[in-house]
Symmetry: D2
């Protein structure tokens, strides 16, 4: 076993759960920034698969840039229309031409793959978005530098070298507020949406806890074709609020107040009604890496990485891998080791060293009152060590779409 530089120590701040004020945000699936994240990541998955299928290894690419230019829409009860389509520009680098050791040449249709991946992603996730009228998908993928091209084989899964000095951070367990913010969006756009097709995908959730009072503020885009009147709209808003209030009971005993679409003004007829279920249809631009971190949340109370995880090559982009892996480690440790109230994992890479040997793997822990660092040290180390040893699993799971990046 490699001797890895793992350090387990007390986290100097207390548990976030104990802090007086906590702020948590989640930009939902249909937020313009998340649309870009989702497309960038889906393009990445499809490119990785295409490289594996065709060449037997993942070649160099990074598709971590997508620019969304908002459209214009005229929503109306019963169904309005998009007046000016959303414009999406997929940007990145991808190897278009490859020659293997045997001299066989491959031309990989990276632009076509990206185009299809983006459109598929939109089709699957945005039922109210008409791909024929509401969105223009454009692609500008340049070629990366040649010497970086061969990176990840099917056969040996050798551990790649870090391509950069970078940093990943993960946390576990989530606080009640964090869980509630996260689950509010996830459950609304899945379970609730099934019964309530009026709910669009652009559901932004803001959580604020002061002491034991949690406020959950939801901005939920409604889809006009499923809403015939202001009364129906009001009913849908009420349904969202009630659903979230119920949901809150599963996650906390604290007092929770839920606010939905607080910017609405029924008198003025100013409500959050959309044609497509996302604010991208009217005035809200978006891009990759500006919203949720790799764990799906924006948590200013916690260390965050600025790295845009979505769209990056999961084979050797160390920023992506370490953000996903540190989250995975944190969750793994908390699942298996008793007595941890809060845990932060930070992985710092060193250029040119194998990525399973980070420069440092820092594990900072807040333990339960009756537990000491020493009590858990060995168990934690073992898990961290094992997860690092299997770092390439992250790559595979990303390619399979099993890990979310935003």
């Amino acid at each position: 076993m490699t001797e890895r530089n793992i350090r387990v120590q007390a986290l100097e701040r207390g548990a976030v759960e104990d802090q007086e004020v906590e702020i948590v945000e989640r930009k939902g699936l249909g937020h313009p920034d998340s649309i870009c994240d989702g497309i960038a990541e889906h393009v990445s998955e499809e490119l990785a698969r295409a490289y594996l299928d065709r060449v037997g290894k993942v070649l160099h690419y990074n598709t971590d840039e997508t620019q969304l230019v908002a459209g214009n829409a005229a929503p109306a009860f019963g169904g309005g229309e998009v007046v000016e389509p959303i414009y999406l520009l997929i940007v990145g680098r991808a190897t278009k031409h490859y020659e293997d050791e045997d001299g066989e040449e491959y031309h990989i249709p990276v632009d076509s793959i990206a185009l299809e991946a983006a459109r598929d992603y939109l089709r699957e996730n945005f039922p109210a978005l008409d791909l024929e009228t509401d969105v223009i998908v454009d692609v500008k993928l340049g070629e990366g530098s040649g010497d970086l091209q061969e990176v990840f084989g099917e056969e040996g899964k050798s551990v790649p070298m870090a391509n950069d000095t970078s940093f990943g951070v993960g946390h576990a367990p989530l606080t009640e507020t964090e869980q509630l913010v996260y689950e509010t969006e996830r459950r609304l756009v899945t379970d609730f949406h099934e019964e309530h097709p009026a709910l669009g995908q652009d559901v932004k959730v803001m959580g604020k806890r002061e002491g034991d009072q949690i406020d959950i503020t939801v901005a939920a885009a409604m889809v006009d074709r499923h809403v015939d009147s202001l009364d129906e709209y009001a009913d849908e808003v009420d349904a969202v609020r009630e659903y979230v209030e119920d949901l809150a009971d599963d996650y906390t005993d604290r007092d929770v107040s839920v606010y939905v679409n607080t910017a609405d003004d029924y008198e003025e007829g100013s409500i959050y009604l959309t044609v497509t279920g996302t604010s991208a249809e009217q005035g809200d631009d978006g891009s990759v890496g500006r919203g949720n971190r790799a764990n799906g949340l924006i948590t200013p109370n916690r260390s965050m990485s600025m790295e845009a995880t979505s769209g990056k090559n999961p084979v050797n982009h160390i920023g992506k891998i370490y953000n996903l892996l540190s989250t995975d480690i944190a969750e793994g440790v908390v699942a298996d080791v008793e007595g941890i109230r809060d845990l932060r994992v930070r992985l710092l890479s060193q250029i040119g060293r194998p990525i399973d040997e980070p420069h440092v793997a820092d594990v900072d822990v807040v333990t339960e009152e009756d537990v000491t660092i020493e009590d858990i040290d060995a168990d934690v180390r073992e898990i961290v060590d094992e997860k690092l040893a299997n770092v390439t699993d992250v790559t595979e799971r990303v390619i399979e779409g099993e890990l979310t990046t935003f």
Copy 2:
């Protein structure tokens, strides 16, 4: 009845049929320039219909510009792929906002309409083109000037004023070579294509007649998924040649030689194989108004108008209307009046006068040997006069998609 300035006179040149050398060309449906013509015209039709549906009149627009940037493709027997999508930019002007006399406001989603029209057109006409991977459709429609906006009502069909000094020209009957060139393309991409899905839509036909020898040169894109080998390719090429040879018998007694895909070099493996059925997939850019004239042909032996007919507003764009009308008149006269060997109709507009009163309507005729201009003068005038009187029929027929523009 209006006194129209109709002039009937002898055509000073002889009939084109009698000229020693004749050159005729038709760029087929799938030629990059024709793709642009077709999209521009279909966008125009859909815009006109949308204005009629929503506002009750056709508002100002012109969508007579579409730029096609060729893609890259890797065709292969049995089915290759598009490596880099074709990029299509739809350009023009269209009224986006309108307020009627009653103060009711309309927002017309012209960009969305154009996007959908273009994609529909491609889907219907290019079965081998995968809209999810092979083409990017982009739109840049500006707003026209406000005072030109209201132009064509449903109710009265009043005759609009000419917006320009412009010129239209039509010819009839087509010469044998012209008919043969035209029908070769039309029949290949319809009848022949039904039996031979291997034939793509990009069929360019060049006709050259020297005396009584006609050479028909066909460049026909084959679709790789329907062609499994070089032998099959050769068979398809042979089938095209035989089909055209047979077809020739219907149109002429002259000697006809048919050449298909003469640039092929089987030794070198250089053949006209495509993924999508059009050369736009690889290296051939296109734009509106560069190919066929309004009668579907390029005929340097005859007067031609430079006007790009496709995509223009059919209500008041005098260049479009007069090119279509003069062709319609020429065909009408030749159908009804005996003794005409060749006929040219030229309509010249005058700004500010109603379009049914051209500055001059020149009809130049080559009669049969035993027929004089005087013999036919009255009949010709009557038809011209009637067609001019019903000039707005052209508008309607264009909007209904009954008139072709390229």
Copy 3:
């Protein structure tokens, strides 16, 4: 000497000068279509020079597509502004990578060359256009097919093979109306403009002759910063008219009526005032090959080629070469041979044959009354033969910018 297939015969129609009705048009330098022609051709020249400088031969390219999307402007006496920039998309094919016989590799910055060429062209020709605010120049140059890449060397100037069956046509001498239309635009934007900076570059001239009455209609964009009032505007319009009236005396003894900016309505304040000197700033889109033919005119009374000459590779694009060459031949013959009233040269290529051996070189002549075809036949043949023998001169002169294409 090669035996070339030159045919000299009587032109079956009479001289255009003798026809009853004649229509001639010239879209001036600043017309949106001409802007595209000019840019396409200048990009072509710069690419050709760059290839010669770097590789010693002209590699494969075609830049005969440029799409102009009109901007929006708010002209005002004394100086208004462009509100939305003109968008220019330069489209085409150009060899980006080349390996010579010695294995030396070249990367030619074709996009950067095209970008600079376009901006230089605009800067030099449109003094009122501010390149920092009024125009966006974008470039999409794809790579052509590899086997067409090496085409024109400095050393031997071997005659290339025709790449297509194509057709070029030239005429001489110009009729009085043609000369007048052509010179009107040329002289207005040069000599007149020097004294009258108020005159923009978008000067469209329409000539119509009926018998001995010539009407010249000029649409001349005025530049707002040089026009302080409606009175000044009216003075400029008058000055244009007087200038053209004077000019007419140099070219014809016929009656000439000159109309300038006839669509103006001073009462309504509707005048042809611009910020930049071109209608491209507001509502008029443009593209290559839609305007003037290679001789600078649109002449429906004469045979015309549909070929877009501007931007094409001057080494082996037979359509471009034959259009320029046939015009050059026609002018050469008329300059040297007495007794010709009208002459048309048509060159028809044959794929795969050297371009100095056209399939046929047809020279159709209308002679003076007392001259027969036999009288001039030998002289004509000699000139045609010599011009064909020196066909590569056309290439050189195009690259040097000595031949105009629109």
Copy 4:
């Protein structure tokens, strides 16, 4: 005086200066993400000024999106060239049409302003970037929603209402490592650059402190035209290292190791040589809000806001204002109040309340050993209160370009 909800308390974590491991990063002026930040912010400034000049108030806009698509370059000692231009797409919303109370109408050329601002910014900051060949600037600014349009007057400077629930965070004082990272980049691209034109603007600095050992890693793009050989390149790299080593003495007594361009491999000829001084020329895309936070640094040891500050409207975009203001407050407190080792200011807005009355203004302090929170509480509150009272100063200073956002 308004009663503001200001809370001053002990920061539960220790001072960052005391933490065992510290990571700090600064993406320099020429990093592709920073280029986008800089352009977005400069466009914003110019728009704000234009609105003030023309309308007397800042109308609604947000230009916080710019997408940079990397070019391709062929750097070479003595001077190479950009082969494919960088493509920059400026995205956002801006009011194009406004009607004031007196019915006067204004058309603001927002696209032209943005275009010019972006080009000016590039020209001023990137001396080695040739705007005629190396970069394409494109603009897509949509119109925002109408009811948000009037936001900021010259006259009264009334305090606007918060447009969102948002969060800003500021820190002071910077740690030694932070100061060193920040100053390294700032001083290199200013003072050092003056003597060493070979240094480009793309200088990325990574600081890592473990205990008392600080590693500063600099990736510095060199400009090829100022570097004639590998030896000269190596000299420049050495000069950078020495300069930063010297600089370090001004900021810390800790051990500092400086590494410059560690990815270079002189044997392989793989060095960080550029034509333009930025990696945007070759393979590195960029966008707004992905790099430095409002204080110019990326500091995972500290609370960070995900808000993209650059390009946002400084009048009512609460995320921008609170990030800048909280930093300003933190610096102001530390400058005036003795005994503070580390201080964090967090401002949380509440939709619909005036922005000078945040929902909460949290000030968390680590004091010197002999200082208590009580000792400083009153002084801190006073400063916070005053800064909040003058919140609109932030707006003015942003418009004047006095506050940096990245």
